[in-house]
Symmetry: C2
Amino acid sequence: MKSKIQSVKGTRDFYPEQMAFRTWLYGKVREVSERFGYQEWEAPFLETLDLYAAKSGEELVKQQAFVFQDRGGDEITLRPELTPSLARLVAARQAQLGKPIRWWSFGPFWRYERPQKGRSREFFQWNIDLLGPDNPEADAEMAAIGATFFRAVGLEAGEVKIQVNNRKLLERKVEELGVRGEVAAVFKLIDKRDKMSAEAWEGYATETVGLSAEQLSGLKDILSNRELWRESESLVRFFENVKALGVAEYIEYEPTIVRGLDYYTGTVFEARDRDGEFRAILGGGRYDNLVDAVGGDPLPATGFAMGDMVISLVIEKYGKKPALAVSPTQVLVTLFDEKGAADALGLARDLRAAGLNTEIYPQAAKLDRQLKYADGKGIRLVAILGPEEAAAGAVSLKDLAARSQRRVPRAEIAEEIRRSLDSGRGS
Amino acid sequence: MKSKIQSVKGTRDFYPEQMAFRTWLYGKVREVSERFGYQEWEAPFLETLDLYAAKSGEELVKQQAFVFQDRGGDEITLRPELTPSLARLVAARQAQLGKPIRWWSFGPFWRYERPQKGRSREFFQWNIDLLGPDNPEADAEMAAIGATFFRAVGLEAGEVKIQVNNRKLLERKVEELGVRGEVAAVFKLIDKRDKMSAEAWEGYATETVGLSAEQLSGLKDILSNRELWRESESLVRFFENVKALGVAEYIEYEPTIVRGLDYYTGTVFEARDRDGEFRAILGGGRYDNLVDAVGGDPLPATGFAMGDMVISLVIEKYGKKPALAVSPTQVLVTLFDEKGAADALGLARDLRAAGLNTEIYPQAAKLDRQLKYADGKGIRLVAILGPEEAAAGAVSLKDLAARSQRRVPRAEIAEEIRRSLDSGRGS
């Protein structure tokens, strides 16, 4: 047996069936983004390493980014996330761009991680961001977009949730424990909480972060206090706003949420399935200093990112995966011999001109084989143009679902196909 | 002044305006691909270098491909073209995939070339392929898809052309000159013809390729003989078929077309603007041995690729660039103060639930500023919800194009907006 060339580890092949799902997902992302008035944009897939060095956090840049030198010796990064690119584009045209800026994007990203369920090295991500306002209305809009997306794909509030916290509130509470100046280390500690055992986590807290027993106890109180949001004016208004936006049932306060990236400054959130089976579905929050950090003027901002892998698993788990047509073809035109090719191609031409997605069987073959192909592809209608039909100036239209066949004058065939498609849709 | 972080050389930033064009182009590609019954698929963006080594040709692999080692030491290539990936996916599931296979794709590619007008290092490409039949009907379908795409974007046969040749015909004619065994070198020579001066080309022909004066003269005869296609049964049927498919005016025989990639085996073609101002708009042809070469069973195939850069220049040159809405927003909801936020968000919620793309002005501001923002974004309708309107249970709907404003009961506002949008569309 010949050896087949393999794909790169952590990448995925999208055969038509998988691609139809990705296109459906992209369509839902577009629908919801546009429903809130966001404009689609896209950054390059290659960026300089410098862009991420400032603010993305060590893990992402030093351990997970694909970095290489191009043939000219320049250091290139396959983008591991989009937000720094967003800040770069905004900074480059900051004066000309009208504020607020509402942008969304759906494209590929790369991270060098161990491939596993819900995680690959090459994945797609929806990013959506609102730049300009620094108020709880903007934060609430982001959460509402996430919830509206869940609704759009059929996920209910009993199945998924968006958990919210505020870094400023958390910072204040942590400082009250007397760990002033080491807040970043404590945030990192909090972010690790569900990635370690309770014992290992407490060891990390006291030995690595250097918390006293009293401070650790205080921190645990903070992290279990579900009423803490009442101490944050920003979160109080946030929860009023998500209520006004009609998505309150999806959203809850969660004191342990802090998010892993260094650039967050205020309200942060992530979504999970209620059973806690998967990693976060989406995550984001306020990052008011990033445009500044890449060379622009300060510009408040909030946004989130959702990878395509976890959401796909969640959609599947809850039985919300739609039945998608894998072939766009509405009618197959048969081909019986070389002599009849011009006629068959001419029929296909006319059907296409009438706006019908038309495929021709591309080589002479027996009718049975052509019908079997149509059936396997899910093509319901077959326009049969044999010598008899050609002589009669007619076409036989076979409906594989209805198991019916009738002869139609050549001039009326497009209209007849359209009628059949419409009646099929209703049944 | 702070220094701004730069983008990577040869990449492009897609601000909403540029992205709207790319999305429009992708939509046209989808429309035409589906009109011929093709299924969308996608390969990974990272592949192994081995995949290209076999058949893509030295220039592409050794000079133009971005190749690097990942953190695990594996050699990775940023894909410079799609056809080898197609062959890999087909070979991996050859038994299960029903034939014919009609697949299309639109995605990013990378080549390390000198960035210039119509060429960047990161670009998008439409690929479309038909695997199974090895007949001129399949070749003609490919050319017809290209021509139908030109029609779909408004390019007429007087503006663009698809030039066709056949490698088997050319091989036979070249062998008749007595250069048996060195046909590949002569093909390379032919491919270089429009990239060098006549003098340099003749020097290359005699010195590097080793043609005699007589052979060179014979070759020049071949390359100027526009009736040569009559000697190829395959091309004769090809031209009958493109006529039956209704696209003959776009397609012509051109004896100098040979295409640069090593894997082509039969009919090849490329499209150009009639003025010859730009490089090829699209190019492709038959490649019957590629699935075999990556480890599958032999499977005849034909297809073409079209980059997004040259077609964009051609569309622009001939004034076919459409006017595209840069914002998806249908109505802007105003916000005057924090107290009114819940009301405004509730109105936005209701409009969205009614299927209207609704943006809220995201912070308290004077009406003038909010109207100016709407105007700048091309948003025609503004739903004004001030204290007066709130007290009256109403909303004022302002039409920035008609310069009109009227007060509408809150319960009727969605319907009124829909009416305004419909009447605006007609005007």
